[in-house]
Amino acid sequence: MKYTLSVLVENQPGVLSKVSGLFARRGFNIDSLAVGVTENAAISRMTIVVNGDEYIVEQVEKQLNKVIPVIKVKVLQPGAFISGELALIKVSCSPKQRVEIVNIADLMNARIVDVTPTSLTLQSADTAERTATLIDLLHPYGIKEICRTGTIALEKGADPTRKN
């Protein structure tokens, strides 16, 4: 099962390596990891998607809490958070196929961000599931390259992860 963790860390050099090293060392499987600064420039948020069971996710949470620059770890409850990721997909496309692919893009709320005589590049900002569907739909045309940011997530509701 996949678990999504929201981790607030001090925005300082070496934190990412401390966190990723911990995952490697303890044999935890990361599905995706995305980092960026928060509303407070001194704090970054890591969204980590972990593959495992309840025991693993509890261990991940506890071990992350031991990393000194980690401020807060929250395992997001299914249904109680919104998530999404950005994907850039470069797909083979002859001029004849262009309309078909533009239709798929429309259906899936993706934007065409680059066009050449032999390719199209789509940009999608959506959930991991819908991104997977988009990739499946584009597959028959020949996908040249994909770049994904990994999932980012926030809890639903008015409260922030860390109350001051």
Binding site: S17, Y55, E58, K62, K66, I68, I71
Partner: protein, 539 residues
Amino acid sequence: MISGAEIMVKCLEKEGVSVTFGYPGAAICPFYDYLYRSEIRHVLVRSEQNAAHAASGYARSACKPGVCIATSGPGATNLITGIATAYMDSIPMVAITGQVNSELLGRDVFQEADITGACEPFTKHSYLVKDPAELPRVFKEAFHIASTGRPGPVLIDVPMDVQQAKIPKFTYPEKAEIVGYKPRTEGHVMQIKKALKAIEEAHRPILCCGGGVVLANARDEMVEFARNSGIPVCATMMGIGVIPMDSPYYLGMIGMHGRTGANRAMQQADLVILCGARVGDRAVSAPQQIAEKAKVIHIDVDPAEIGKNMAVDIPIVGDVKLVLQKLAAQVKNSVPQEWLDQVFGFKKTYPVRGEAREDFVEPRVFIRDLSSMMEEDAILVADVGQNQIWCARNFNVKEGRFLTSGGLGTMGYSIPAAMGAKIAKPHRQVVAVCGDGSFQMSMCELGTICQHEVPVKIIVMENGRLGMVREVQDRIYEGRHMATILDGDPDFVALARAYGIRSALAKSNEEAKKLAAEMLECDGPYILVCSVDPETPTI
């Protein structure tokens, strides 16, 4: 104006550091130049690994962080085994390393090593300092992190230019403010209530103490809890000494090399109270089997240890000392006599082993003899291998301490750790016990012992074998003794004399006892070599 190097020394002074263990090199020279002008004592070891071990022995005896110092590159990498040893046993330590100039970082210059990167898995936290103005905060945090919560080693890597750079003035922070580090000390009241109820309802309770009890300095609370509750106590190797071995509540050490009686008691219990014990594989080989039969209460300051190796019913996160105080004050003695008869019966069923010999020194008997001859508050440092188990099973810790590398199992630990312990507690007897294998891993420290006049006593169990591995080869590899025969041992007595250290060879238990008395009486260091039958088993 004040330089980074001077700030580093001032920080150590502010932290009350009086002794450091280290080995200089070019990249740490600016710091050493200020250490020269300080009252802080510096002990020059003969290899950096031993600086870390000595700091570990010092920390465990002085109950405050030990400090070790090395230069960049090989100096720093040599520290790693010592840092990892301290990490596995949760020993408070601050390691300071020099680093190449910060503008050269990452260019693979002479004696450059990414030591904060290399030590990542073995440190509680680490710093690579890029600005001298950060040094006071970093040092304050480092000592705070090393010594609070679950203790551990912290590394501070300081590039040479940061040591040389000057800032207008030095102010040391009053306290460390780390937003993501707030170790919990008080156990939760509800959890303590639940634990008391479980104790009341239990028919076959047992208390299992680990190194956490020693680290929390909770010996008295432990003994009081055992007395008030009447619950029999066993210990892991790291927990040896939490309760006197001849105490009426004590069952002995558990684990692979532990007492059969203590292990059987653990297996038959219906309530296991883990206290500062992380349920390592050598202590409890099948934790799930125990957890299936028994209710488990786990008291630990590190929440990540709870549920890691054994399923737990009642977790109590907090300082073992504070939690035990609360438990001891409220607990009632409700242990059925039947259970006590059963577990203390085990103690008689499985007596201690070994008989005195005239052709060799029987090590198990000798350790018991030594134990009875040593002072109440003596410190015994056991190395790793057969000697460790002989000591763990046969040495009776009364008011003193039993130090060993329990987690990492680092050979060569005993001599440098004993040096550190002796420097921390100069008025106590400190004896290191090692094998001829482990002795040769750190015998270079005899030079340190002489130069700094550290009167540690060293016992070398000489059997010409890497005994424990050889035993494994006998048991599992049909007696093919590959690389476990130590031919080429020097004459250890002559070696000691070359250093000007008193030494003697014992060939029987009677002789060993006599020489041990001489060893304990003499003022300076002493090396007692015991000729041990290679066939002597570990247990």
